[in-house]
Symmetry: C2
Subunit: 576 residues, 2 copies
């Protein structure tokens, strides 16, 4: 009645409440025997990536989509790399998950314990006998790390790494020596599922928070609820929605909260997307004139705030975060958002606190732009036009650059899931994330469409993950915005500089070159507004039954208005 | 009479004795203004890569080729990335350069000093206000790091980072804030070229070393000189060759020393490639039966030694290293190889020490294999056949896997430069390194051919750098060995496992898809021994006047004999 330690790891990952169905990564000789164990777990499959950076991006995208679908404690994903070479290639992707609060487990197959003790000059080492150096590097960008040392303590190390990744929605690191894969573990351990609940808040501290929050609400005339990324990542959107529905306070979202679960852009109290000075003027006014700001899961990075241009008129700001609460200037460490919101909603005094409130008018839908009169597609029009093509439940992945800024001007349908790496902003991310995203979506509901928008520049960094989509016959839409180079960089600096140029590719041949099979793929090119209109009204095209790559031809310096403004702010900040 | 600090950096890199002609990297908003300065330096150009990992590989390949060409203190290259996202993507490549002793400078454009002081939540940060975390990560895999803080101390920081990279042949890290690019520096500083000489050895210690070395030589009947990678990296091959020519001692090389400058496989005293138990029996016997082993620049990793299977019969081993010397069991820290070899050769007692020596017979050339009788190309034959096609001065880049093992069985022509990442062994490396290598070769002597051998599996990790070759119209040969997946992994473990499969690509379309222009490229496919013979006797093909991709079809489990044996040793080590 025992199983191997390797299998234990994958059973834990697959078992509820974790519920992972696919593991990402790249094989390497220190992880091969570990990978054998994936197949032993019913319902778990291996999704090999073309390289490790893409594997990390894919795990990130998978985790985000899972948390967008499921009503659970948060997202989770796993990737497996090999010692040294493999794990270091993944670091940028892991750091992105750390910055943006994405739960995932980075499993690294490492040399056997005896090779480490003898300090052998193995391949994939620095040649100095130091086997701890890579773990030290990962420690800078992970919540915690664990090193499996033997069969006896291994399961505890594994459980801790999974739990910490989940609860904190951050990556964790697990080193698994090749020789310990077949150590035996009692099967019984699996009977006790992992407890993934966040720890309860300190009673006394939470009571003080509730008292002050209720008081501020009871005095406010026109509060605004501002929803940001961590509200979704830390599983507090249900509470946020209940807060909105019961109080009828108006609410705005940040760019990073677009497409968060339970947070609709169709709700009668929805006020728009707030990005400081880059907001639509009415939205800016609505947020900044409020006399109480209730902020949920804020992540106040430059690109998420119009270069820190928030400008509330009130000092009455309540910030709920994943692991602390702030009321005006008072901080309450350890008072976690999800728990304290639940307590607030359940508080007998809650209903009374807002009974005086008269729901104020909300901003009229600002998502519109005129169709260009000439033959050229503009980004300003493209993103607003897109609203009409999207449908309920779509998963929309946008690359840093014109796409992540443009999409702010698109109205998301009900239950949309939005994925964009606004804070970390690593170009190329979206391609790997879209692969992970479509794997997750196809596991949960193959009818939901996954739609990627990536520029021709960013695409070049991670192009090989398109091959993974072809290999897995993923029904996905890859929109390549061809504007002949790094447009976001050109806007910031060096409009005509050679370093912002890229090699022109024949995008129409990519799927075929990667071995896509007749009938399973479609490559399209769209150059005029009319062609785009036709495409978006084509019923065949709307059905996600193929791997599709659609190239959209755009002008070199064309960009959505908000990106043009952001670029000016960024250029100024760099020289300051 | 002043120049900008940004320009100062690039002038230093371009100026002799450093002599860099091309800078690699990827633009990002924190490095754009810095990149402007490259164009201001006469003779220096920007070679943008498709992603940062490839940029690091390219810099590594460039540095190796330069050191193979030039009679200077060692190789050097520079790459520029952007803060956080860019630099982390490059880490695996930087670590490889660290492990394998390759001199390069990693320049990172970082946010302005004021943004750092205010701990702003900028994009490309972890969102925690910590701007030092990435530098800490790089510190684990670099010789030293520098942070430019102001215009006054900036030039010293820059000079130190260049010098340390050069002298130690290791990567160094330089953080350059965006707002300091235009700080002014006295032009005069450039008049004093950098001193890149290694520090002199301690006199007393060196004298003791010489005394003991001369004594061991004078007593030896049949010494062997064993040349390894660090002999080339640390610029001691001239001394090594003089040692061989004057003493007429026989010499062997390791896999990592194949294609080292000045070290010919055509020399009358050349004995073969020594890889422990994986050596040809005659070579093994010749090395191991010697009564004095003079080892130059050893890097005793598993793949370089047949899994640590060296087995000398003598205890008389002298090891010269870049920064210490070891004689039998005595270590002499700080006694650097290049200096001590020079002193040995100049020692008045040197000639006397070996006058008793009677040159022993050397091993007959073992490079041969029979042409397969059927229609299938075997690796065993391919690599030996290749010897006849190579010509003087070729630069041969081989990927970890069947190529890096197979190439040991190829006879290198005079002045060949061999590039392979045997210790670090990151798959995909060879593609980026070949791009850097061909850029260096075209700078120095466009007649010299650059020839890449990469497997279809490894190619997928870094395919986009083929696009950089197309973009730069590099005249290169890319041989893609198509054996349908990760053959080296299959040999170690999981012969039929799904995780060792890859997506099949249409390799013949790659150059065209990446936008290669009619007449500037050629895509070929070779499936039989006859076709390969024809190709290798085609005079047009032999001329490096195009970007060429040649797919060679091979059997899934076919591999050179030495790799089959190595894989068995590796599998055993992993389970032990």
């Amino acid at each position: 009645m025992s199983i191997s330690l390797g299998r234990y790891l994958f059973e834990r990952i697959h078992q509820q409440p974790v519920g992972v169905g696919s593991v990402f990564g790249v094989p390497g000789d220190f992880n091969l025997t570990l990978l054998d164990k994936i197949d032993e777990v019913d319902g778990l499959s291996w999704k090999g990536n073309a390289n490790e950076l893409n594997a990390a991006y894919a795990a990130d995208g998978y985790s985000r989509v899972k948390s967008g679908f499921t009503d659970g404690p948060g997202g989770f994903a796993a990737l497996v790399t090999t010692f040294g070479v493999g794990e270091l290639s993944a670091l940028n992707g892991i750091a992105g998950a750390y910055a943006e609060h994405v739960g995932l487990l980075h499993i690294v197959g490492v040399p056997s314990i005896s090779a480490q003790q003898k300090q052998l000059l193995l391949h994939h080492t620095l040649g100095n006998g130091d086997f701890t150096v890579f773990q030290k590097m990962s420690a800078q960008i992970t919540q915690t790390s664990g090193f499996v040392k033997d069969g006896e303590t291994g399961p505890d190390v594994i459980d801790r790494c999974i739990r910490e990744a989940f609860i904190n929605q951050r990556p964790t690191y697990l080193a698994f020596p090749a020789n310990l894969v077949d150590e035996q573990v009692p099967l019984e351990r699996l009977k006790q599922p992992l407890d993934l609940k966040v720890p309860p808040n300190d009673k006394e501290s939470e009571e003080e928070v509730l008292e002050r929050v209720l008081e501020l609400i009871s005095k406010a005339k026109d509060p605004i609820i501002l929803i940001d990324a961590c509200c979704a990542r830390h599983d507090a959107t249900k509470e946020a929605k209940e807060l909105i529905d019961r109080t009828e306070f108006k609410y705005a979202i940040t760019p990073m909260a677009k497409g968060a679960r339970d947070i609709s852009e169709d709700h009668p109290r929805f006020t728009g997307v707030y990005v400081g000075t880059l907001s639509y003027p009415d939205v800016k006014e609505a947020v900044e004139s409020s006399d109480l700001v209730i902020s949920l899961g804020a992540m106040l990075s430059d690109f998420n705030t119009g270069s820190f241009s928030y400008s509330y008129q009130t000092k009455n700001v309540i910030e709920f975060h994943s692991d602390y609460t702030k009321i005006r200037q008072a901080q309450y460490p350890g008072i976690r958002m999800k728990n304290v919101l639940r307590s607030l909603l359940d508080d007998p005094k809650f209903e009374d606190s807002f009974k005086h409130y008269q729901p104020s008018a909300v901003v009229k839908n600002p998502y519109k732009a005129e169709e260009p009169k000439n033959e050229i597609i503009t980004q300003q029009w493209l993103w607003s036009k897109l609203s009409s093509w999207l449908r309920e439940g779509d998963v929309i992945v946008t690359e840093t650059g014109t796409s992540s800024f443009g999409i702010i001007q698109t109205k998301y349908p009900k239950n949309a899931i939005g994925i964009s790496q606004v804070l970390w902003g690593s170009i190329g991310y979206s391609v790997g994330a879209a692969f992970g995203g479509v794997v997750a979506a196809e596991e949960l509901d193959p009818n939901r469409r996954v739609i990627l928008f990536v520029g021709d520049g960013s695409l070049q960094l991670t192009i090989q993950e398109i091959s993974s989509m072809v290999r897995n016959k993923n029904n996905i839409y890859v929109f390549v915005l061809n504007n002949d180079g790094y447009t976001i960089e050109r806007l910031i600096h060096g409009e005509t500089a050679e370093y912002n140029d890229i090699q022109s590719w024949k995008h129409g041949q990519i799927l075929d070159t990667f071995g896509a099979k007749e009938g399973e793929f479609e490559s399209l090119k769209v150059s005029t507004p009319k062609e785009l209109n036709n495409l978006f009204s084509d019923k065949q095209f709307a059905k996600n039954d193929k791997t599709r790559l659609i190239e959209i031809m755009l002008e070199k310096m064309d960009a959505p208005d908000n990106l043009v403004k952001q670029a000016q702010l960024s250029a100024k900040a760099n020289s300051g």
